[in-house]
């Protein structure tokens, strides 16, 4: 039982990392409908940004902040200078999927060229595991969970209570109607990419912090699990993404307590398939389905 609870504790840490990336991609997808395969690289660009700062000043807050800024800048720039021209030219989203795959490979190779392919250590404040209720966490784990909780609370507050968040939901519902209502959809979409990039950068940094290091393909590998969590939650549903991340994160870590950890990713996808068997549209069904049924 203790092992199980400890595994749940590790699951909550994985879920926190996953939630940052999953909520980011769901938020972006709900507002812009572009499936973004380069998001794992946005995470890694942020994480490597944090790593560079670490070589100058060892302060975990400053490092995380750098990851946020780099992630946001890369995400915004990729949308503004690459994807937006495609969108304006009326390119279909399936084509954009391939474009983002290209961006993913290019960014991975940029990281490879600059930092090399070997595993680089990302140092985090070390501590002996501490007992928090039934869970066994390091200080870094606690920081990761708190960072995720704060970020997700910000997402909730912005979406529910601010004019910008409401306009994001309006654009997600119907971009055309949003425009004739006076909402500057283009600006809302650009800011959404900026925001999703910031969360991705932070997610990449905490991912590296938990593993203890970085390599260029880490983000892409992690993205598979992010997609699983996003689909489990209901595609394009920021709140569903939180649930999906929780379910997948805990399933992965609890399984590792009983079967070899190598199967973690397989477990994530097994959880995905099981969820979809019973809830074909994910835990929180997407908006368009609801409209179609109405």
């Amino acid at each position: 039982m203790t092992d199980f609870l400890h595994a749940v504790g590790f699951g909550l840490v994985t879920a926190s990392i996953l939630a940052l990336a999953t909520v980011a991609i769901s938020l972006q997808f709900s507002v812009t409908s572009i499936p973004n395969l380069a998001q794992g690289e946005f995470m890694m660009m942020g994480a490597y940004g944090g790593l560079v700062v670490q070589s100058v000043i060892q302060n975990v807050i400053v490092e995380a902040l750098a990851a946020v800024v780099v992630g946001a800048a890369v995400s915004w720039a990729v949308y503004r200078f690459l994807l937006q021209p495609f969108v304006r030219a009326g390119t279909r989203n399936t084509t954009l999927l391939v474009v983002t795959l290209g961006v993913s490979l290019i960014l991975q190779n940029v990281l490879l060229a600059v930092f090399g392919g070997s595993y680089l250590q990302l140092k985090v404040p070390a501590s002996a595991p501490i007992t928090v209720g039934p869970f066994l966490w390091t200080i870094a784990d606690v920081i990761i969970i708190v960072a995720a909780l704060v970020s997700l609370s910000v997402v909730h507050i912005v979406l529910r209570y601010t004019k910008f968040g409401k306009s994001q939901r309006a654009v997600a519902d119907n971009p055309e109607l949003a425009r004739v209502t006076g909402i500057n959809s283009g600006q809302v979409i650009r800011l959404t990419w900026l925001w999703a990039g910031a969360m991705s950068g932070l997610g990449g940094f905490v991912l590296g912090a938990q593993i203890g290091g970085l390599e260029p393909s880490l983000g892409f590998q992690f993205l598979l699990v992010v997609f699983a969590a996003a689909v489990v939650g209901g595609i394009g549903q920021p709140y569903g993404a939180m649930l999906g991340a929780l379910l997948i994160g805990i399933a992965m870590e609890v399984s590792a307590a009983y079967i070899p950890a190598d199967y973690k990713q397989g477990v994530a996808f097994a959880a995905l398939i099981l969820t979809l068997l019973f809830r074909p549209n994910g835990l929180v069904p997407s908006r368009s389905r609801i409209v179609a049924e109405a």
């Binding site: 004019k163 409401k166 939901r169 425009r179 209502t181």
Partner: protein, 251 residues
């Protein structure tokens, strides 16, 4: 009443001082033009109707005026100012409000949030304006916290109209606001539009329900095959039933 096709003299529109003028508008969706050389004038305090059979280009004309589609030729002007270079979100600021036929509310937003988004371009007074509209549309007042997707068809239409009125527009463009509604809601929509018109708004409405529309319209344009066909004041057109029936069928 005039049939431009055979070159009869053009009747003088009763609205000597139109706020909205569409002149020789040609537009489409990339292929051959859907509307060609269409003209329309609308004045404040009047209901201007655009009628005609399916595929006549009525909705297309409305979309051009709302800035959703750009005309390939012709001009749209509001208070004498050319609108053709403005984006839809900028047009709202000039006092033009457009309510599409379908998908005209934000389903996942609550009724109140829909009203807030309707007032997106307002700097102040959103709350006061929403309260006033709730008095105008009492059925909305009871469900302000509900997501719009849970509303009935009639309530949804009321919300769409209220959303369009949030900016206190001088021109309100509506695409078939009564289509598919139960008769009591149809009546209610008309009552609201008449009230809006009486407040000095230029109401421009695309409709299928011809007879009822002509009863309320100050001036009506009948379109066919993407062109202006007949125009006249509502009463005259209604009395010339044979002519109207020939183009739009029995309403």
């Amino acid at each position: 009443m005039v049939d431009n096709q055979v070159g009869l003299p053009v009747a003088v529109a009763p609205h000597a001082d139109p706020i909205l003028i569409a002149e020789n508008v040609t537009a489409g969706y990339g292929g051959p033009p859907v509307i060609s050389d269409v003209n329309l004038r609308a004045a404040r305090g009047e209901i201007t109707a655009i009628l005609g059979p399916n595929g006549a280009g009525k909705s297309t004309l409305l979309k051009v005026i709302a800035g959703v589609i750009r005309p390939t030729q012709g001009t749209i002007s509001l208070r004498g100012e050319d609108l053709s270079m403005l984006q839809p979100q900028e047009l709202v600021r000039t006092g033009l409000s457009y309510i599409p036929q379908v998908a005209n509310v934000f389903p996942s937003l609550t009724v109140y949030e829909n009203l807030e988004m309707g007032g997106y371009v307002l700097r102040t007074g959103v709350k006061e304006r929403a309260e006033r509209l709730c008095e105008m549309f009492p059925s909305l007042k009871a469900c302000l916290r509900r997501p719009a997707r849970t509303l009935s068809g009639g309530e949804r239409r009321m919300l769409a109209i209220a959303r369009g009125l949030m900016v206190d527009p001088s021109v309100l463009l509506l695409d078939e606001p009564t289509a598919g509604l139960a008769p009591r809601f149809v009546q209610s929509v008309w009552e609201h539009l008449i009230a809006v018109k009486d407040q000095g708004v230029a109401v421009v409405i695309v409709e299928q329900n011809t007879r009822q529309t002509l009863t309320y319209a100050t001036w009506a344009y009948v379109m066919a095959f993407g062109r202006n066909h007949i125009e006249g004041n509502g009463g005259d057109l209604l009395n010339d039933a044979a002519l109207v029936d020939a183009y739009i069928g029995k309403g």
